[in-house]
């Protein structure tokens, strides 16, 4: 189930089943736990200078093993992939912005597209 497929326990608890037998999406507290675990994992990645934990997954698995397990234990695997990709995307976006700023580009009023100020 998990992205790395390493351990069985690194997957979120089975979702609650609704009255018509369909699994219910994570509720507010489950989401909060997932985001917390994600932030902890990303803090660890930041400390070790890892941006893309998908392409550098061996290094990430070695240095941030505990946080990675916590991340996967609290978030659905699709969410894990989504957040990891998003981290890379946001990093690249910030790099581009800084590069443009260094080149003397003028900032336009308005805001970046979807997810612009998510965690920055």
């Amino acid at each position: 189930m998990g992205l790395f497929g390493l351990s069985k326990e690194a997957s979120p608890p089975a979702p609650k089943i609704s009255s018509d037998g369909t699994p219910i999406a994570p509720d507010r507290s489950q989401r909060a736990r997932c985001w917390e675990a994600r932030d902890a994992y990303f803090v660890c990645l930041d400390k070790n200078g890892i941006i893309d934990s998908i392409s550098e997954k061996d290094k990430a698995a070695k240095t941030c093993a505990a946080e990675g397990r916590g991340f996967e234990a609290n978030c659905a695997s699709s969410w894990v992939t989504y957040f990891k990709k998003r981290r890379v995307m946001e990093y690249q976006r910030n790099q581009t912005l800084e590069r443009l700023k260094a080149e003397g580009a003028q900032e336009m009023p308005g805001q970046l597209g979807p997810g612009g100020q998510q965690r920055s």
């Binding site: 189930m1 609704s18 009255s19 018509d20 037998g21 369909t22 699994p23 219910i24 999406a25 994570p26 509720d27 507010r28 989401r31 997932c34 985001w35 978030c75 659905a76 695997s77 699709s78 969410w79 989504y82 957040f83 308005g110 805001q111 979807p114 997810g115 612009g116 100020q117 998510q118």
Partner: protein
């Protein structure tokens, strides 16, 4: 131009006397003056005899058949000629109507600006956002576009397994609903918040009921078959990428547009509210559009 030109009595008397006695001298000055009145373009240097000769023997009749003028006397005409077509009355009228127009245009300009946004999608040849649909709400009851008529609807597309953006936006939506309800003009149509899932395979009515109750009790959650959802997304110009025929337990994400669509009581798109708007800004946009609604 309604007044008939009537020469003054003594002028007529002089004229007829001159005709009777065949003496052109005493009327020459008057004749010249009259000729400048009736034919302003005539050069003043026209020979005086020709003035007399051109006048038929029945002089009085000539005057009565001459072009109609609006001045009773030569003096009146002269004074009008000196002051031109302007007078203090005309000036005052001009200023009053001018001030009135300026006031009117300023008042209309602000209203028209909002109207322009609201009506950008009305009429022929405009991109159409929204349209008829048939879905099911979170209680399993059918819900169509007809249920949106007569209310301002705030439509949001999302799915319950959305990692981070949808929950944030739904929290924002809940705040917007409360802000608008707290201070909307009482005459305005009510606000109807709607959540349409892009992920019908996993978002059954029961799932939506549980999910949405976390945000705001008044949000109506709509779902349907894959085909129905695809059609409604197409009508609202929402990017739809949900794979067909997924199994309920499967773990996947759905890409979708993340705008709030404000629809007017006739079901026409008014304005899109995006992530850059705070709930307060969004609520004030919604309220000003609601205040404009006159009911058609």
């Amino acid at each position: 131009m309604s007044k008939v030109f009537v020469p003054s009595k003594n002028l007529l008397a002089t004229f007829s006397r001159a005709l009777r006695h065949g003496n052109p001298q005493p009327i020459s000055a008057q004749c010249q003056r009259l000729s400048t009145i009736t034919t302003p373009g005539l050069p003043r240097t026209a020979p005086q005899p020709s003035c007399l000769h051109s006048t038929p023997k029945t002089g009085v009749r000539t005057f009565s058949t001459s072009p109609q003028r609006k001045y009773k006397t030569v003096q009146e005409q002269r004074s009008r000629y000196r002051s031109g077509p302007f007078s203090w009355k005309a000036g005052l009228l001009f200023l009053i109507s001018g001030a009135g127009l300026i006031f009117y245009f300023r008042y209309e300009k602000a209203r028209m600006e909002r109207k322009r946004v609201a009506e950008a999608t009305k009429g022929v040849g405009r991109p159409k956002v929204g349209g008829p649909f048939e879905l099911v709400d979170q209680n399993g009851k059918p819900f169509t576009d007809g249920d949106m008529k007569g209310k301002y609807s705030l439509v949001y597309f999302g799915f319950s397994h959305c990692p981070d953006i949808c929950p944030e936006e739904l929290d924002k939506m809940a705040r917007m609903i409360d802000l608008v309800r707290a201070s909307a003009p009482s005459s305005a149509p009510p606000l109807l918040p709607i959540f349409i899932t892009c992920d019908p395979a996993r978002d059954t009515p029961a799932v939506l009921a549980t999910y949405l109750s976390e945000f705001h009790p008044d949000i109506i959650g709509l779902t349907g078959t894959w085909e129905q959802i695809k059609q409604v997304c197409k009508k609202y110009r929402v990017y739809f990428s949900t794979p067909e025929g997924v199994k309920p337990g499967q773990d996947y994400l759905v890409d979708h547009s993340i705008y709030f669509y404000l629809m007017d009581p006739e079901g026409d798109f008014v304005e899109a509210i995006g992530r850059q708007h705070s709930p307060e800004q969004a609520a004030s946009i919604i309220k000003s559009h609601m205040g404009d609604w006159k009911g058609k």
